[in-house]
Symmetry: D2
Subunit: 509 residues, 4 copies
Amino acid sequence: MSEFEESGIGEECGVFGCVAAGEWPTQLEVAKVLTLGLVALQHRGQESAGIVTSNGVNPPTYNTLKGMGLVNNAFPPENLLKLRYGNLGIGHTRYSTTGISELQNCQPFVVDTLHGKIAVAHNGELVNAAALRKKVMRHGVGLSTSSDSELITQLLALTPPMEELDAPDWVARIKNLMHETPTSYSLLVMYTDVIYAIRDPYGNRPLSIGRLVPISKLHTAGAGEGETEGWVVSSESCSFQSIGAKYYREVMPGEIVQISKHGVKSLSIVPRPEGDLPAFCIFEYVYFARPDSIFEGQMVYTVRQRCGRQLAIEAPTEADVVSTVPESATPAALGYAQQSGLPYVEVLCKNRYVGRTFIQPNTRLRQLGVAKKFGALTDNFTGKRVVLVDDSIVRGNTISPIIKLLKEAGATEVHIRVASPPIRFPCYMGINIPTKEELIANRPEFEDIAGYIGATSVRYLSVEGLLSAVQGGIPSLQGKDGRINTNASRRVGHCTACLTGKYPVELEW
Amino acid sequence: MSEFEESGIGEECGVFGCVAAGEWPTQLEVAKVLTLGLVALQHRGQESAGIVTSNGVNPPTYNTLKGMGLVNNAFPPENLLKLRYGNLGIGHTRYSTTGISELQNCQPFVVDTLHGKIAVAHNGELVNAAALRKKVMRHGVGLSTSSDSELITQLLALTPPMEELDAPDWVARIKNLMHETPTSYSLLVMYTDVIYAIRDPYGNRPLSIGRLVPISKLHTAGAGEGETEGWVVSSESCSFQSIGAKYYREVMPGEIVQISKHGVKSLSIVPRPEGDLPAFCIFEYVYFARPDSIFEGQMVYTVRQRCGRQLAIEAPTEADVVSTVPESATPAALGYAQQSGLPYVEVLCKNRYVGRTFIQPNTRLRQLGVAKKFGALTDNFTGKRVVLVDDSIVRGNTISPIIKLLKEAGATEVHIRVASPPIRFPCYMGINIPTKEELIANRPEFEDIAGYIGATSVRYLSVEGLLSAVQGGIPSLQGKDGRINTNASRRVGHCTACLTGKYPVELEW
Amino acid sequence: MSEFEESGIGEECGVFGCVAAGEWPTQLEVAKVLTLGLVALQHRGQESAGIVTSNGVNPPTYNTLKGMGLVNNAFPPENLLKLRYGNLGIGHTRYSTTGISELQNCQPFVVDTLHGKIAVAHNGELVNAAALRKKVMRHGVGLSTSSDSELITQLLALTPPMEELDAPDWVARIKNLMHETPTSYSLLVMYTDVIYAIRDPYGNRPLSIGRLVPISKLHTAGAGEGETEGWVVSSESCSFQSIGAKYYREVMPGEIVQISKHGVKSLSIVPRPEGDLPAFCIFEYVYFARPDSIFEGQMVYTVRQRCGRQLAIEAPTEADVVSTVPESATPAALGYAQQSGLPYVEVLCKNRYVGRTFIQPNTRLRQLGVAKKFGALTDNFTGKRVVLVDDSIVRGNTISPIIKLLKEAGATEVHIRVASPPIRFPCYMGINIPTKEELIANRPEFEDIAGYIGATSVRYLSVEGLLSAVQGGIPSLQGKDGRINTNASRRVGHCTACLTGKYPVELEW
Amino acid sequence: MSEFEESGIGEECGVFGCVAAGEWPTQLEVAKVLTLGLVALQHRGQESAGIVTSNGVNPPTYNTLKGMGLVNNAFPPENLLKLRYGNLGIGHTRYSTTGISELQNCQPFVVDTLHGKIAVAHNGELVNAAALRKKVMRHGVGLSTSSDSELITQLLALTPPMEELDAPDWVARIKNLMHETPTSYSLLVMYTDVIYAIRDPYGNRPLSIGRLVPISKLHTAGAGEGETEGWVVSSESCSFQSIGAKYYREVMPGEIVQISKHGVKSLSIVPRPEGDLPAFCIFEYVYFARPDSIFEGQMVYTVRQRCGRQLAIEAPTEADVVSTVPESATPAALGYAQQSGLPYVEVLCKNRYVGRTFIQPNTRLRQLGVAKKFGALTDNFTGKRVVLVDDSIVRGNTISPIIKLLKEAGATEVHIRVASPPIRFPCYMGINIPTKEELIANRPEFEDIAGYIGATSVRYLSVEGLLSAVQGGIPSLQGKDGRINTNASRRVGHCTACLTGKYPVELEW
């Protein structure tokens, strides 16, 4: 239970694509691969899910399946059966927001153009969406949803207006789109028999490519290219394990990669403005991504562990035990314990069945608060001074009852150590963050945050500490002496806007 | 059980709109009026339903509710509660087609334009839809559905491209649209605080206006204009009764009517090409419409009764009793009985609970066929010669087991009398008809149709007989002598394309 | 729309059984026959449905399927597939009552006894249920439901206590039960490979036997016994048509019939007390049964028509047209029209999609009342004096807005003719009737019932008239001269308790 | 992911009861307390859930709510609203079994007796159920389910047969029941205004009592008896935290406790046969219970940790790291790590969204196996020798692909250490265990279990080691010198039948 989870902070989406290699029609059952791939990206979005497959012939037949809720609920068995498997396809899972469920916002978005259908799946948020919406509407196009994905499809179709005679140059259209909007997007565009995988020039959202091999060859080094059964592309590499794919590489910032049955081909890299560094979202490391995903050559779990170690260096504590707010903070807590030499114990046991209940809370239930989701493992901390590591404090109302629970159950001191810096600024690039006023770091109570939440002490990881924990493990940055390679560091950068207010591009509103 | 029903012949849609009169915010609960109005149009479409309401201020807030299935299922109670009632709104009910349910095809279609949102509900089918789709796609617009409604909204937004500075002249845009496509559409366009109600120049689909009055004044002649609580517009006037509205008038072929809180205003009539007559779909009279609806000043029930009378004149029978295939053929059967002087009896009792069952039919069940939906009221026909009136024979496989049932249960003769002419041609204007090859009237078996279906004899109403039954009751056509007023007849006309192959406009494909 | 329907008067249940003839395992798909049979009895109960099949070997395997709602909803396809078809089985459909749905009350009721499982399906209501419940509870048996069916199964098991050594004599136990409770029940008891079909000694509830024949032989007189594919037993013979069965005979009052693969065998007839006549519920004729069902050798439709004729004799009217409140009153209305010589027309068109809506009625909707379910076919009655035949007036609040609708739409007079006598007394034998105070016939307003409901005049059929209409058509009662055969009449009788207060047995409470 | 979970080993049920203290009607919202209490026991059963409340007056009104699936799904919001809250109530959550869902088996079981309704909720399995069923059936009682709960209610009602005049002595009836069946049951019996909480004489299943206090007093020592808001009784004390209750005490083996608004009262202790020790199920400690529950004065988590420590003593390993198969084996793994001095790391990351999917597995998916539920945290074990602690090996087919995954991802050795002895025998007291033939410990492959599952080595905890880990922490057993108090040990005992084949009572079949 992270404060992120409780506070409604969340990723906007996950995208996933698959192209069968070799002869078509394929035996690969692309729709099943897509579905399992999306299940592995489920933490990036639980509101709705969708997949679109293509048979890959010209003109192609597209089959679409969309539904509200988790992937396994969104695609009922009778509909999965109806879906022709296809030879390639893309899928999308969407973040849960409140309100009347809107199937029409569900991605992938498919539109018919003069040259046939394209399907688009998008993770991110266009910083200049408002201006772009005006632009397409000025052309006389009506927009039926508020989603960036529809906007992207219309921009691809619109600019320049289509000519009936020529085949469309989709790559040129994609480049054109990338020049019109600098960030934030990881994008899959399917057209007939090919998927284009695109990351914005700042590389703000992740996107990785994997290779499907025979299951028997999955973990052997020697599965040659000839044994490739298909290619997949995913917001996170954690999905590769569940479908039997090997990690291949990341899509680079600004890169357009074409994936077809013939393989993976880099078509172009749209550059950033001179002098701008990449701006990969640092919170993918801190919280959003699954710990077994790999970004920039390093495993997310290990980065979190380093954050915990760095935190122990920056904010050491006189205490008896180190523990975690399960489950997302565990690697940081283990890192803190290792660095500090204090023993790691579990102090809370999560009731995994507590979910959305229909019971209207009364006073008694409200008073119990989030603590009702946890059992206290009192033997492990009674009479002890506890360092409790969490990955964030957003509003401060989640950690507070947990501290109370621990203290009343016998902890003599509860020191909160947060494995990331305070969040102070909104994100305009795809993350759902409470308003500035709701963020505890911007409120008067922050002056005495320990008193406010009832902790013995509270310390955060510094921005510098976070950056060093993240960047210190990127292979390309590691010089022979273990120090950061200064040359390479010119090509590495992370977006810390929510912590520092420094946005990678100027915001236009 | 009509052959139409069994054969999957059906109307494409129903549309309904409502504007509260007087001061806003209204007490009228527009969303409830829309829902009940759609329930009364349910026979025009059971696949999905949708409503969109507007609060009518500038810029407006639109609220949308859509769902699959019957109106009462499509809008679950919790969602209806969430819907703000609004001061005006439009709704739509869609015909049931097969395949994976597609909520995205559900109307009304709402798009955001440079000048705000418009909502469109459409009944009909654009004869030149393919050419129009190409046109908007050539402009670089992607189309996300195959529905004419999206096409219409994009055409309204597109032509001419929108200017940011000026207010949009929606009426000009609507006229422009009407010049681009001659038929078939009855259309509701909602923009902020007004609904435009439009019928195509041929008047192919119906559209009527009603006036909401205090319930206590509903049936009194004297409810003055000042007592108007709101205005409604509906595919059929049958819906007025259920919401407490009085019939006001039809929208004329080619007319654009503006409905606002200030009342009903005719803005324009877009003319047909010189010499063309209107082409109101004659099957609205024969089968589609509810019998209590009023078209062209006459009640549908009465027209069907006249068809039965005319049939008795054209095809008299030596028989003992006249009966109906319940329920849609009953007025025609009563008309036949009255004209022929033969007694009217019921011979079949319909099991109203037989619906879509999940049971896979085995040989036994298949052999029972449609007859399992009916009980034979044997006392009424054993040992008798029966005239059985139906409203149509489409494929011939529905009436056949009914005849068998009657004969085996003791009818000595079964004479089929069909209260409409044979259907031979496809409809391109909004009606779902089997392919030409499936229509019994185009097949070799038609030579001996009586033998084929097992009847003693089969006779159809003639096209001329149908036209005279329909047109003979239109008030404006009745001269003082009871004969048709020749002058007026120049302004009256009906589409009989499915019977005669004469389409009101040249078909472009 | 009958007042019965609107007033919540309803039958308690329908029962249906089937045994495959010939060699087992059968090809008959007994579960499908049961399901379709129950669909045809759906008018007798919509709350829940259940079927139990047996493979018929010793010890038998029983399979049970139960669900809430209509038969087609209660048995979802995946469950129907799971059901092994069995060689025999019984089913039940239950009347809709309000409150939290209670699957546990759903029949058939199956219990395991020392000698194996028995399954029971029951239509009716035991007049001495309270005393019998006390009796079994005094034996130390707990009852888990309030249903008579569980009570019956426990009574069958309990009396006399079971002996382990002997085979149980179920027939003796059934007889014992019949001596403990005189009425009201039509009962199916399944045990291993046999179904016992039982009617109480008064024959209060109906029960008929049918014979499944090859579909091709369904309507031919010559289908010999050798061609029997199975036997069915049903609350009403209307279900035979839908499954391809021929009417065989009724179970007699007090009779225990054994149905097995070897055929139908009458085991015993438990007599009534000396001097008591049978008491078949007269409202099965008046309202509950489907018109194509056959009781006592006559078709229900024809009885209703005779009621209408008798009403025309008892209560003639100066009027222009005769009509019906659709649909259940139609045969009576046609009978009235035939007898009176007045023309029969339709004045109301029912919206078959109006059902349970989730919309909370506001004042406007409430004022519209039941009239929103009907369209007025004004052409047929404007300026005319209308005789409107209904089958009952229960509370008087349904017919009232219909009369208002007709008058305001132009009827000059509306004469209500009711094809049954006023209901004044509660039923304790299986019919759900409003309390005595709610019945209009017991209220002061009844003095001027015409004024109260707004009719020009109101007349009811007399009890004698009803009895003569019902009994005058029973074949065994018709002497050669057309008069009632006095000898036979000693063996015919009907329960008119709700009309006269004369209950067939003394009530114990 | 424990092998237990994957193998379908599971507890049969959880029970929960609540009585409001003080004046009635209570403000406590008993139904909400019951629901939340059941959510906290959800790990003991996910098939169905039910609650019954009583208003506590004489005669009482009982309200029942039952449903299939998880508690939050089983009680939809509209039904929870309908439930009157009541002043006391009991609830039940049932283990998931396969097959057609059977709502009728859902507990609590309520029956009406001569003296009113009793409700029963049961956890356990009667060892002599078959004989008892025969007994009640011989009395002439039919049993409608195969559940022990119905059997218990009928036994309570039956013996001795009820007398109408006297008030029933339920306690005598309960004692009578306890003499008829020695084990296994923890039972809640509600009658009007009181709940009887009963554990069988062997104490085979757990049952604990808690005290509801004002939330503000929840964790303070000083909440006096006077501040009691109600009493709860639960299969496990872990549920107390979620509803704001303090742990009070366990129900003793053989004890009948009466809980009323006046408090908790021990009525009787039914003894075991001379010389028999208690037989609390040792697998409650090993696997079933939630780690924060307290049995016999000790926390389950701590017992599991001790098992891990003991395992490290019995089966030390040359290795680099210790890890867990998440999540249930984590305390044992941490214990192993602490005892052995090896570092604890995480090697697997569980995808918490992988659940029941509708996708039909193809060859590729089947080959991936359980590994698709886990991500490998490779950085933590590549090139290392891993000790992987699991809580059990049941069939051996779950751990095998995990070992393969670790080895292929770079682990040089994988040593499996199992924190419990091999399971070899069936359980007849409430635990669902595969057949003897399916248990890996009974199969030839067990000879070379390491080779069979692909591990470098496999070692189990000994039965003696398990017993010492469990009993060594029971407070009453700890003498002053830390050694086991021999006197007290005569009153402590655990059922190890599934490990040793020694059942606490002779089995009658």
